[in-house]
C-alpha cells in the first residue's frame, strides 16, 4: 500500500556517493541547499542543476526511482507556483476575472518551482545514498562541539536514529492493521470527509497501542544491555575521512565559489 513512497528512502547499491563519509554528504547537502538560495539568476540555476545531475549520475540510483519519489510533492509544488503566479504584484501580462498574472509573478513562479525541485532532489540524493544510521552518526559527530554547551548531542542523535528506524516498521504495521480492518468491512476509500476521519479510528487506535508497546519493548531491551547514554560509549565503525572525502570537500568548495560568482556577475 505504501510502495509508492520512495522519497528519501535509502536505495541499496554501490557507488562513489554511497561510499563517501556521511559527514561529507551531510555538509554537502547543507552547502547545496544554501547555495540554492545564494544563486538568483538563470545561469546560477543551470550550474546548480548541472551539479545535481552529476551527483545523480554518480549515485548510481536509477533516475526513474528518484522521480517516482517526487510524485508525492507535486501537489505542494503546484500550490507554491499558483500562489506566486497569481499573487505577485507588478506589470500585468494576462488577466481573467479576478486572476491576473504579472511578469514578476511569472519569473518568480518559475524560479520558485526550479528552486523547490532542486531542493527536494538535492536532499533526497543524500538520503538515497546514506543509511539512517550513517546519517545520525554523522550528525552526532558534526554536532560534537555543542557538547561543551551541554547540548545532549548523543541523546538527540539516538532519538533520531530510533525514530527513523521505526518509520518502516510502523508503515508495515499500518498496512497490516488496515488490511485486517478492511477484512472486517472497514472502508478507507470513502470520499466523504467525515466518514474518512471516522474510519481512521479503527486504524489509529491499534497503531498507537502498538507504537507504545514497541517503545516499551525497546526501552526494556536497551536497559537489559545496560544502555545509559553516550558517556564513554565507543563505536564499532568510527568515522574516518579518506582521500575521496577530501576530494569531495574540494569539489564542494569549488561549487560554492562558483555559485557566489554567479550571484556577483549575473
Amino acid at each position: 500500500m505504501f510502495d509508492s513512497i520512495t522519497l528519501g528512502q535509502y536505495y541499496q547499491t554501490d557507488s562513489v556517493l554511497h561510499r563517501l563519509d556521511p559527514r561529507v554528504k551531510l555538509v554537502g547537502t547543507f552547502v547545496y541547499l544554501i547555495s540554492l538560495f545564494v544563486v538568483d539568476s538563470y545561469v546560477g540555476y543551470i550550474v546548480a542543476a548541472l551539479f545535481l545531475a552529476a551527483m545523480i549520475f554518480l549515485s548510481n540510483v536509477p533516475f526513474r526511482y528518484i522521480v517516482r519519489g517526487m510524485k508525492t510533492i507535486v501537489f505542494l509544488l503546484l500550490i507554491t507556483v499558483c500562489f506566486n503566479l497569481f499573487l505577485t504584484p507588478g506589470e500585468v501580462i494576462w488577466q481573467a476575472w479576478i486572476f491576473k498574472i504579472t511578469k514578476e509573478g511569472l519569473t518568480f513562479a518559475i524560479k520558485m518551482a526550479v528552486r523547490l525541485s532542486l531542493l527536494i532532489l538535492g536532499s533526497s540524493i543524500m538520503t538515497l545514498t546514506t543509511t539512517p544510521t550513517q546519517l545520525t552518526d554523522a550528525l552526532e559527530s558534526l554536532l560534537r562541539p555543542l557538547k561543551k554547551l551541554h547540548v545532549p548531542v548523543h541523546e538527540i542523535s539516538m532519538m533520531m536514529s530510533i525514530a527513523l528506524r521505526f518509520i518502516p516498521i510502523l508503515m508495515e504495521e499500518t498496512d497490516k492493521i488496515m488490511k485486517a480492518q478492511i477484512a472486517r468491512g472497514a472502508d478507507f476509500e470513502s470520499k466523504n470527509l467525515i466518514k474518512k476521519i471516522k474510519s481512521m479510528v479503527p486504524l489509529l487506535v491499534p497503531l498507537f497501542i502498538s507504537a507504545f508497546r514497541r517503545a516499551n519493548d525497546l526501552a526494556m531491551a536497551m536497559e537489559a544491555r545496560c544502555y545509559r547514554g553516550g558517556e564513554g560509549r565507543t563505536k564499532m565503525k568510527p568515522l574516518v575521512y579518506k582521500a575521496n572525502d577530501r576530494i569531495a570537500y574540494l569539489v564542494l568548495l569549488a561549487f560554492a565559489v562558483v555559485c557566489i560568482l554567479t550571484r556577483i556577475y549575473f
Binding site: G185, A186, S210
Partner: protein
C-alpha cells in the same frame, strides 16, 4: 459453490530490483463445508495466498472465481466477498480498538450496514461461539488475557457470518493450553456452523488432527493438495521443505521398521493407540 483459484501468481515490488515471486501459478478449488489445513514454511506464500482469496491483494496474473464470478470483474461486489470470506490475520488481537468487547465485535456487522440491534445479535452469537465469558462483554478489550483477546478478535470476524473462514496462524504466540483451546474452538465451530474453514499453520501437529484436506505450499507453489494421510506419506519431501509430519507418524513408522505390521497412516495419538492395540498379539510381551 466456493472458491475456484485458477493459475494465479503474485509478485511483490513488481518491476523493481526487489521483486519477489510470492505465488507461482497456483490452482486450487475450495468447496463449501470443508476443513482445510494450509501448511508451509515461513515465506512459502501461504499468507499471500489467503489474502488474495478475499481480494485484499490483487493477483498479478490468473483468476479467482467466487461462486463462479471473477472477483476482479468490474461488477463484482468486493465488500460482499469480504463478508463471505472472513479472514483472521496473524495476531488478530492487534486490530482491537473499541471501548468494550461487544462494540468491537459489532464493528464488522455494522460495516455491512446492519442495524444496531441486528449487529448486536450477531455479536452476541459470535461471542458465544468463541466461548467468551459473558462477564467480559462490557470490559475493555485491552484488559483481556492473550487468549481471550484472540478469541474476541476471531469473534469480530465470525460476527460477519462468513461462509468461508480463513485463520492465519491462529495459535502463534500462545502457550500449549491456549493453543489447544483455540484449535478445539475452531473444530467446534466447524461442526456447529457448517462452514469452510482454512487453517493456516506451519505445524502439522496442529492441523493433522482436525482437517479433511491438507494443502502444502513451498516457494510460492502448491506442492501437495490431498487428504492428510496421503500427504504425510511424503515425509521425506516435507522435511526438505522444513516441515514435518505429526510426531505420532514417526513413531508408527519406526514401529513398522522394527517389524510390527502397523499402518503408518495414523495421524493422532488415539488412532495410533487403536492401531497398536489391534496388532498387540505380534508384540511378544
Amino acid at each position: 459453490m466456493g472458491i475456484k483459484v485458477d493459475d494465479i501468481s503474485f509478485l511483490y515490488e513488481r518491476g523493481t530490483a526487489m521483486q519477489v515471486t510470492a505465488l507461482d501459478h497456483v490452482s486450487a478449488e475450495i468447496p463449501d463445508n470443508q476443513f482445510i489445513g494450509l501448511i508451509g514454511h515461513t515465506g512459502s506464500g501461504k499468507s499471500t495466498f489467503v489474502q488474495t482469496l478475499n481480494g485484499l491483494l490483487k493477483v498479478t496474473s490468473g483468476h479467482i472465481y467466487y461462486n463462479g464470478e471473477d472477483i476482479d470483474g468490474d461488477k463484482f461486489d468486493k465488500k460482499k466477498l469480504r463478508s463471505d470470506v472472513g479472514l483472521v490475520f496473524q495476531y488478530p488481537e492487534h486490530q482491537l480498538f473499541e471501548v468494550d468487547v461487544i462494540s468491537d465485535v459489532m464493528f464488522g456487522p455494522r460495516n455491512l450496514g446492519l442495524s444496531d440491534a441486528e449487529a448486536k445479535k450477531r455479536a452476541l452469537e459470535a461471542l458465544e461461539s468463541v466461548r467468551m465469558p459473558k462477564s467480559l462483554y462490557k470490559s475493555s478489550p485491552f484488559d483481556l488475557s492473550g487468549g481471550q483477546k484472540r478469541r474476541a478478535a476471531i469473534a469480530g470476524v465470525l460476527a460477519m457470518r462468513p461462509k468461508i473462514l480463513i485463520l492465519d496462524e491462529p495459535t502463534a504466540g500462545l502457550d500449549p493450553k491456549g493453543r489447544d483451546e483455540i484449535l478445539g474452538l475452531i473444530a467446534g465451530m466447524k461442526k456447529e456452523l457448517n462452514m469452510t474453514i482454512i487453517l493456516v499453520s506451519h505445524s502439522m501437529d496442529d492441523v493433522a488432527r482436525y482437517v479433511d484436506r491438507i494443502m502444502v505450499m513451498g516457494g510460492g507453489k502448491l506442492l501437495y493438495d490431498d487428504e492428510p494421510v496421503k500427504v504425510f506419506r511424503h515425509v521425506t519431501e516435507l522435511e526438505e521443505l522444513g516441515l514435518a509430519a505429526p510426531q505420532i507418524t514417526y513413531i508408527m513408522k519406526l514401529l513398522k521398521e522394527r517389524g510390527l505390521d502397523v499402518s503408518s497412516d495414523a495421524l493422532t495419538v488415539e488412532e495410533a493407540a487403536a492401531e497398536i492395540m489391534a496388532h498387540r498379539r505380534e508384540l511378544h510381551v
